[in-house]
Symmetry: C2
Subunit: 117 residues, 2 copies
Amino acid sequence: MSGFGETIRNRREELQKQNPQFSLRAVAGRVPLEPSYLSRIERGLEAPPSEQTIRRLAEILEFDSDALLALAGKVSADLADIIRKRPVLFGQLIRELKHLPDQAVLRLVREIRDGNW
Amino acid sequence: MSGFGETIRNRREELQKQNPQFSLRAVAGRVPLEPSYLSRIERGLEAPPSEQTIRRLAEILEFDSDALLALAGKVSADLADIIRKRPVLFGQLIRELKHLPDQAVLRLVREIRDGNW
DNA sequence: TGGAGTGTGCAGTATACACTACACACATGA
DNA sequence: TCATGTGTGTAGTGTATACTGCACACTCCA
């Protein structure tokens, strides 16, 4: 599994091919961040930045923010909030779902969305 | 909703009634922690301690650790790990479950446990 | 050939986190 | 009365987090 830095560097360079507004400096400027800091992050010399900064990067690089946060070893604060409101219940559920295949979880999501619960 | 400090103080004092081994000093000694630190935490003068320390307190005070962590504004690291392995999938699911009543979530837990998925 | 743009190296900083250490005041019982 | 146990107040500490700031080397092209 590739790391956080590697992922955003690859994604940025991919976008940069089509559009010069995706140079390291340009992206850093939009976040905003110091270019040298972003550089160190992309090369994995520095730990991933804060959740807010990761969200901003995900926005700019058009990347799923939950996925990017996960690569940074974090869980989105809004999800954590949902769990914290019913910790025992959600604790049970999530531990139960741990070994359930993607397909089954996805089916669950759809059934809940369709109001079958 | 009562805070973290208040909760552990109440719980500790309740146990202390039956057993002198639940004085602030004795509990602090078992964790182990400096008594003054635990005192400040119980009175809400200090932020809740680390996840490890909260788990230890939950163990000593026979309190659900997920619930205690939630009062401290935290989500158990093992749950976070599960989510981080499939961030998009679990993100969808949890946001979908946000407004589902306890009863429905509980039924879900049981159905999954019974292998109906 | 020099000005603009590329990424990088190195140093420094403010704030929060998670505590320890120790002195103090009060109560109780022997 | 004094040793023991109760909780508390104040100060200090080491480490991590999340960055900034600026100088530097390289490339490109006008």
